[in-house]
């Protein structure tokens, strides 16, 4: 018996070996049927394939999360296939680093479109169906950067902080409709996206950055996914409107780190 038996989820941003894919897989393993979406067909199909291989029910739908018509197609496809929708995971997001002097207004607009407008469009399109579910949950993938600017750029953090405010508003409005809304805040998590951002210096930064995380290791997509399964399930049915940190304690608030080998065993 899984925590999400009988539930149907839409997960956006599932086309890379990252948090979205891990969440879709974990939700499927917990019993949910999942619609996995994203812009890149090959990556999305790979996520679908991995879930089918594990005996789950998944369908990839091509999806630009900033396009309202695309959202209608995704939701219509979900309803035709499953007749219901219980969980929306707004995972798709973008990051743009850089100093304030070099960032442009276009950069900010780009982030706000994907990190704020898209979850808004998703919630708006899915709302009546989440309300009908009786177990409706919206999970918005935010970032520790919303609470700790500086860890990830001048405008990325504020875009995620705006998304958190949107999440609280969704929770307030959703409560009478039986819809919960929660922001999930990963800290440094070892994903394709972060590796891309680090570029050729990946190996150079991996260890020093790990030392700045309280628990001394990077998060993994699976850690975030386990939290998302809990938050989407009835075990969290009195939890709404919160910012849920999955960040190994946070970044850089600790001046020294033990030279002892790490004992948390997160790598296993």
């Amino acid at each position: 018996m899984g925590a999400l038996d009988g539930r149907v989820a839409i997960v956006t941003g599932t086309t890379a070996a990252s948090i979205g894919r891990a969440c879709a897989i974990a939700m499927s393993d917990a019993g949910a049927k999942v619609i996995v979406t994203g812009r890149t067909e090959a990556g999305g199909k790979e996520t679908e394939r991995q879930i089918l291989e594990r005996g789950g029910d998944a369908l990839f739908v091509r999806h630009d999360v900033t396009d309202e018509d695309n959202w209608r197609t995704v939701v219509d496809t979900c309803l035709e296939r499953h007749g219901r929708l219980d969980i929306l995971l707004n995972n798709a997001g973008e990051s743009k680093g850089g100093a304030i002097e070099t960032l442009t207004l276009d950069d900010l607009h780009f982030l706000l479109r994907i990190n704020v407008e898209a979850p808004f469009l998703g919630a708006k399109t899915c709302w009546p169906h989440l309300k009908a579910s009786g177990h409706g949950v919206i999970l918005n993938m935010s970032s520790l950067t919303a609470q700790q600017p500086g860890a990830g750029g001048t405008i990325y953090g504020p875009s995620k902080a705006t998304q958190n405010a949107l999440t609280r508003a969704m929770a307030m409005e959703g409560a009478p409709d039986g819809i919960r809304a929660v922001a999930v805040l990963p800290g440094l998590t070892f994903t394709d996206g972060v590796l891309d951002a680090l570029g050729t210096d990946t190996e150079r930064y991996k260890e020093p950055l790990a030392k700045r995380i309280w628990m001394g290791e990077w998060g993994k997509p699976e850690h975030i996914a386990a939290a998302c399964v809990f938050l989407a399930s009835d075990a969290a049915k009195y939890i709404t409107g919160v910012e849920f940190n999955v960040d190994g304690g946070g970044i850089g608030q600790m001046p020294t780190h033990s030279t002892e080998p790490n004992k948390f065993g997160l790598s296993s």
Binding site: A171, M215, H223, A235, Y238, M254
Partner: protein, 251 residues
């Protein structure tokens, strides 16, 4: 697969209310649980009901030597304690104008110092093999009301203590995660202490419901579900966190 299979846990204030719900759910998830409480009649009855997976040990959380006895009892068989839930707490109402120093001290003693002693005992016994400490704070820690001055302050202390203990364990390389759960209004005996003299029980309940976006109180089981998550490997990358389980009460 049970989520706490083979784990040994100690739950303070485990005889009743939220603590008892945590004990029951822990046992259902495969843990062996020590119910540590000052109320030995109720605690022993619960231990008997859940036998052989639950045991009772007398523990007044403000007494350091009783902590040692309790930890020794819980670790006697396996040598290990995997999970410690610092749940014991008391509530007295009172504003800044009506709270006596005696009441303030009594509440700080049980809620804050009791949790401090628990963390101290927990870290000591867990530091070699790791474990999870979960401290019960309150919505009042981050969204206080005028009428529970000392309680709210003691619960805020617990949030801070939790983060500090988590930092220390991380710094030292101890595999101990320490997290706080912040319940909103939970339908147990304690909440009814907030009822004012001019309120009927129905009026009181309606006034509580009106303060929550979800329009209801939470249940002890809903808090226990959050504690299980934080006690299990599902939360293995979460430490120093405050998990609000409050029906939207802090939005």
């Amino acid at each position: 697969m049970a989520r706490l299979q083979g784990k040994t846990a100690l739950v303070t204030g485990g005889a009743s209310g939220i603590g008892a719900a945590i004990v029951r759910k822990f046992v259902a998830e495969g843990a062996t649980v020590w119910i540590a409480d000052i109320d030995d009649d109720t605690g022993k009855a619960l231990a008997t009901e859940l036998s052989p997976s639950a045991h009772f040990i007398l523990l007044d959380v403000v007494l350091e030597d009783q902590w040692q006895t309790a930890i020794n009892a819980a670790t006697a068989e396996t040598g290990l304690l995997d999970i410690l839930v610092n749940n014991a707490g008391i509530l007295e109402t009172g504003t800044i104008e009506t709270t006596s120093l005696e009441t303030w001290r009594q509440i700080q003693d049980v809620n804050a110092a009791g949790t401090f002693l628990g963390c101290q005992a927990g870290v000591q016994v867990m530091k070699n093999h790791g474990g999870a400490i979960i401290n019960l704070s309150s919505q009042a820690a981050v969204r206080p009301r005028s009428s529970t001055l000392a309680y709210a302050a003691s619960k805020a202390a617990i949030v801070n203590l939790t983060k500090t203990v988590a930092a220390h364990c991380a710094e030292q390389g101890y595999a101990i995660r320490c997290n706080a759960v912040l319940p909103g209004a939970i339908d147990t005996e304690m909440i009814y202490k907030n009822r004012t003299a001019d309120q009927s029980e129905d009026e009181f309940v309606a006034s509580v419901h009106a303060r929550y976006p979800m329009g209801r109180m939470g249940t002890a089981e809903e808090i226990a579900d959050a504690v299980i998550f934080l006690a299990s490997d599902e939360s293995r990358f979460i430490t120093g966190a405050q998990l609000r389980v409050d029906g939207g009460g802090t939005i």
